[in-house]
């Protein structure tokens, strides 16, 4: 039986159950507010958001692989395209694009045109170092780690800090081959 063809992000997004983005936005805002009240240090909040995103990412990748029917990506370029075109679309309903590839194809930027996390948000002067959407970088890092890629994800541009777009830099550090839990000769 031939494997099912990979589905486009829009097709998957149309087929999953959806909720109002504003509930999502407000819930995320409540989370960030709780973190700021508890941790008080902006760097700690950034780290905690990244960790929460990591926890989400390691489970999100299962759902992504199940729903999207993608086959194994040949190289990191394809991986980045998958994240931008299928991943962001099927979970957040937004389109993202990949650009700024470096010479060896291990580092690229993902540009988000639209970001449902930041509707109605303005950073006060006391929180200028906060990466409000840091949960997204954790999600990508966690998801890629579960498919054998160690990456580093950082924010290059953030509209809440005054830039003109949302740009994430995804850098492949190394491929970690899967370890089998049993020896071959047993």
């Amino acid at each position: 039986m031939p494997p099912a063809a990979p589905r486009s992000g829009e097709a998957i997004f149309a087929s999953v159950e959806r909720v109002n983005a504003e509930l999502f936005t407000l819930t995320y805002g409540a989370i960030v507010r709780q973190l700021l009240t508890d941790l008080e240090e902006v760097d700690e909040v950034n780290k905690q958001l990244d960790q929460m995103g990591y926890n989400i990412g390691i489970r999100l990748i299962d759902e992504f692989l199940a729903k999207s029917n993608v086959s194994r990506c040949v190289d990191f370029k394809e991986t980045a395209e998958m994240i931008a075109k299928v991943g962001f679309k099927m979970f957040l309903g937004v389109t993202a694009s990949v650009m700024n590839w470096d010479a060896d194809g291990t580092c690229c930027s993902i540009l988000l045109e639209d970001n449902p996390l930041v509707d109605f948000v303005e950073l006060p002067d006391t929180c200028q170092g906060l990466y409000y959407c840091n949960i997204l970088s954790g999600v990508i890092r966690g998801a890629l780690e579960m498919v054998a890629m160690k990456t580093e994800v950082t924010w290059i541009r953030d509209m809440l800090r005054g830039d003109d777009a949302y740009e994430l830099q995804v850098k492949l550090l190394k491929q970690v081959p899967e370890e089998y839990p049993y020896k071959d000769d047993e």
Partner: protein, 208 residues
């Protein structure tokens, strides 16, 4: 560069249009986010009632903002001043916008004058949550109870709102009931006016 100039920058966030509220995200994105909220709070507390309080406080913040957003967008900046009015606002408008459907039922409590109940077969946020036995009476719907409390409190109807599981025969998962107990100053008459409401003086500069 492709995409440059596509997102319009607004000097002041109040100038930005607030949108029609039709954008959607996948249910699983919300479920993941909510699970992280609960897991984070579990690490910060020692017992169940503190966990419920924290979830409720998170929901309270959401409710306050939902009230302002919906009052402006859906009702043209009119405030509800009657008890039944605000209850049906929560039961239909708020539920429809947040969860995509009106709540299953709105009932008046028989034992006390100032108690009302909103019931739902399965809360959206609880859809993928199963409770371990040792958590006992804890209900993740405390978040939704917080949202309701936020809406009511900021509309001038202070209340204590809690979420409970009500077992139903024939159904495996129990029904959820949000119990609303209004504070004494709200009064017991159905026509009581909310008299202590701070005037909503914030002005939206939104381009509709």
């Amino acid at each position: 560069m492709i995409g440059a100039g596509k997102i319009k920058q607004y000097a002041n966030i109040l100038d930005k249009p607030i949108g029609k509220g039709k954008q959607e995200v996948s249910l699983s994105a919300l479920a993941f986010l909510f699970s992280e909220l609960v897991q984070y709070n579990q690490t910060q507390v020692d017992n169940i009632s503190e966990l419920e309080t924290r979830l409720e406080d998170a929901g309270y913040a959401v409710g306050a903002r939902v009230l302002e957003l919906l009052c402006h967008r859906e009702k043209g900046n009119r405030r509800e001043t009657r008890l039944l009015g605000i209850l049906s606002f929560v039961h239909s408008t708020v539920w429809k916008v947040l969860f995509g459907k009106v709540a299953d039922s709105l009932e008046k409590g028989t034992e006390h004058e100032d108690e009302y109940m909103i019931s739902e077969k399965e809360l959206l946020v609880n859809k993928f949550i199963s409770m371990p036995k040792d958590m006992g009476s804890f209900h993740c719907g405390a978040f939704v109870a917080g949202i309701v409390r936020g809406v009511l409190d900021n509309a001038g109807f202070p209340a204590v709102v809690t979420a409970h599981f009500v077992p139903v025969e024939g159904q495996q998962r129990p029904r959820t009931t949000i119990l609303i107990k209004f504070a004494e100053e709200v009064g017991t008459s159905l026509n009581s006016l909310a008299s202590n409401i701070p005037l909503l003086t914030k002005v939206w500069y939104a381009q509709v």
